[in-house]
Structure formats: C-alpha cells, structure tokens
Symmetry: C2
Subunit: 271 residues, 2 copies
C-alpha cells in the first residue's frame, strides 16, 4: 500500500492532481485502529533503541499548505515518545542573519545528532516554494536548487542521517473549511491573518511548484511521500507506518554494557 504514496522515480514528471487528498486506500478509521495503537507502541520502543544505539540520525521533513496539519501530525504521531533525543524545529520566515547566509545554513545547523529524531516543520524546501511562487527566485535558480538539495540529502544519507519527506496533501475545499473553523473559534482566530487569504490566491501556483519538487527532488536516497491529508486519521496512520517501517528495517540493537553486571551490582551495594 505504501508504494502508492511513495515517489522514488527521478525521471518522471509528477502532477499533484494525480494524488487524491481524501484517499483512504478503501480503509475506515475502525479498520486501522488496532494496527495504529500497535504502531504507536512499536514507535516508542523503536525510538528508545534508536536513541541508545547512536548509529543514525532521523530527519523527518513535513511540508504542506496552510492548514495541512503539520503541527497536528507532530502532536498526534509523537504522543508518548521520549523528549530525550527528539526535537521539533519550526522554520518560519528567515531572519536577516539567516538571509545573510546560503539557504541551507539555518536548516543544516539543526539536523539531528546520531541517536536523535528531528522533525522539520517546514524546511529548506520553502526556498524553492514560497520564494518561487512570489518570484523572489526565477525558474533557473529553482532548478539549480533542486540539484543542490538532492546532493545535500545524498550527503546526509551517506553520513548516516536518514531523510523522510512527507508532503501533507490537502484539497482547496479542505483548507477553506479549516480556515472558516479557525475564524469562527474565539480560541483559534488569533492564528488567522490576512496573509492566509492572500496566500490562498496562489493555490494553483503552489500546486505547480510542489509538483516540480516531487518530480525533481525524489531520489532513491530520499524519496518524497505524498500523504493524503484530508482525513486526519489516515494521514497520521500513513506517516506513523512509514516512520516505524523505516526504523524497523535498520534492525538496531541496544549497545552492550561494559564490565560484568553481577560485579557492578555488588559494587553498587557497597555504597
């Protein structure tokens, strides 16, 4: 099933229109409940051995339009995971200091240490998305950045940082419903800004730019996953399943303790 959402062909032009935001692979929330609970338990176990073994870093990139549920995904998928060795980095509009440097600098600075899992809520992909939509960079620059990003990710993977990239794919109608709900709730409407309305007008352009990202930045080393995100439960399920599968395949083990355990216990009892 996962194959359907995985893009790892580099020579094909993908169009986001081919992907249904409300896809649930003919499953219902009830169908996956048991499996989802098990996945959560499994993830908590796996994260411990991942942290303990200190062999790899795991970088999880979340991208998506406003209201696609990047925050919600982090919150849901990572419930119960130990904060030790787990970080979330939010990348908002760059500061002058960040803009003064090359565009990979601020994100590279936050990539995970070995043993750690780091989620990027937005990432360097904004530097070929929002900037391109608003014509701060031209197409030539965008395509040159695609190549640089591919090289950068290949470098990370070669140096034991695993890269998982999730595009949370919602429909324009879904965004409208969410923005309306946001406006109507006194506890949520502070999140709303007129900029949201303005960005929404660029919806089609964003979809094109995302299609280019998927087509040009899906590599064997770091494929993109297009996650149907109109249904939150399905979004959480596919994201979690992908993370669990990725860590499981590493087949990690707890490091062995140095010294003799019984002797250490005796020593401990002495003082």
């Amino acid at each position: 099933m996962m194959k359907k959402f995985t893009i790892n062909s580099y020579d094909k032009q993908f169009n986001l229109k081919e992907f249904k935001p409300d896809d649930t692979a003919e499953l219902s929330k009830q169908d996956i409940k048991k499996e989802y609970d098990k996945l959560q338990e499994k993830f908590i176990e796996l994260q411990e051995v991942f942290y303990a073994s200190k062999k790899y870093g795991l970088l999880i990139i979340l991208q998506g339009m406003d209201c696609s549920g990047k925050d919600g995904t982090v919150k849901k998928v990572l419930t119960g995971v130990s904060p030790n060795g787990f970080n979330v980095e939010n990348f908002k509009a760059p500061t002058p200091e960040e803009l003064g440097r090359d565009y990979l600098w601020r994100t590279h600075n936050k990539t995970p240490m070995k043993g750690d899992i780091t989620v990027f809520n937005r990432s360097y992909y904004e530097d070929v998305l929002v900037t391109r939509v608003h014509k701060d960079i031209d197409d030539e620059t965008a395509f040159s950045r695609f190549r640089e990003i591919n090289e950068f990710e290949k470098y990370l993977v070669n140096n034991n940082t695993i890269v998982l990239k999730f595009f949370l794919n919602i429909s324009k109608e879904f965004q409208q419903r969410k923005l309306e709900n946001r406006l109507e709730s006194p506890e949520k409407n502070w999140k709303f800004s007129e900029a949201d309305l303005k960005e929404r007008k660029f919806w089609d352009k964003y979809q094109e730019c995302y299609s280019d990202v998927l087509s040009n930045c899906s590599t064997k080393e770091a494929p993109w996953y297009v996650i149907p995100a109109d249904h939150r439960w399905f979004r959480d399920y596919i994201v979690l399943k992908t993370i669990v599968k990725t860590i499981e395949e590493l087949d990690l083990e707890y490091p062995l303790i140095e010294g003799n355990i019984q002797e250490l216990i005796q020593e401990l009892k002495k003082n």
Copy 2:
C-alpha cells in the same frame, strides 16, 4: 500545601536533610488521580493561550541526582502538550566551544522566546554543583557564581521570562534501587556507566552543594521548589500543579483578531 516545598527565603540556611524524599503530604495516588487528570487538561489549554498571547517565556529548570527522574518528569508532565512552542534542552558535559565562553553562555542561548516553554534538563546550576564537588572551582568562586546567577535570573524575570526551578529530591536508597534495576534490564543497562558508581560516592558532597544552592539561589523572583521524588506520581503531581498555578496566575487572554470576522469569511468563500 505548595508552601511546604517552596523556598523563597533568602536569608536562611537550608539543609536538604530537612526535606523528605518520600513525602506525599499524606496523600495517596488514588486521592489525587482526578485532580491530576484535570491538571493535565488544564495545562494543555493554558499552554495554548500562553503560546498565543506571546507575553511571557517560561523557563523550567530541572535539577537532581542521577536517577532522580528528570527525563521521566518531562515525559509524564508534558504528555499531550503541543510541540509548537515547547522545547526541551539537555545540557550534558560542555563542549570545548562552550567551555571557551563564560558559563552562562550556552544556556542563555537557549532561553525561551516569548510564548514558548523551555525545559532545561540540567542547567547552569551544574556550574556550581558538579564543578564544585570535583573541586574544579573553589568555594569563593561558587559563592560569587550564586550572586551572578541570582542577578541573571532577576534579569530574565524583569524581561518577562518566568523562571521555575525544581530540585527532584530522591534518597540514596532510591538511587540504589534504580541503578540496580537499570543494570538488570537488558534494555536499560546500556545507560549504566562506571561513572555512575563513581559519582555516587560523592553523594554527601552533592547534598551539601545542593543545600548551598537552595540557601543562596532562592529569590523572590525565582524560588527553588524541592520536589519529593521517591514517589513518581507525587513528583509529577507537584511539578504539574506548580506549573499550572504559575501560568494560571498570569491571567492570559487570546489576542484579538484584526478585521471583521464575517467579512473575512465572505472573502474566504470567494476563492
């Protein structure tokens, strides 16, 4: 009840021996269950308005001996809290780059932005604890640092960063049981190092140094809380209660939205 665990007198010499690590204020786990669940819900609500209002930063400092449950406290108390605006910073042995600077540099660099809650798992207090126990600094330096730390915290509070300091107080017997459990579990014994045994030999010296910290670095602006931590449920309860009370007293409100909500909804429906 909280008063019992709060140190906010600056002119008295405190001794850790006066505080019982297994204190539960004559309560049982069952007695507080309902209140605890409500506190958790309340905290999740409060964190949202804290983040939205962007008036204060909240710095939570956790200190304690090995096995005192610093990681566990973070994990338990913060279940369900949004990772947006919530950070945990672990301070281990300083790097050469960090040692090349003044001792407050690396922690100051990580203090919370307005709207954020940041937990320091260990902190600049290590620079008057582990360094003093092992005689890397003399008593004069330690006392001079106490004054500097007080001034630093006063400065933070004056600039809208709230500082909560929790000392997780365990008994020596409790630590022994925990270390034994750690050694006996194949999934946990990788955490054990001979250094744990060596540090344990300095137990009494650490208790003295902690007593000095409590006596000299409890201020009106930033008191220490001594949390009985032999019982995990009581530890979590008191820490959470203190955090909730602190944020509640700020009486924060969601910011008002700019513009007319009905007009914005109409605008939204147009595209």
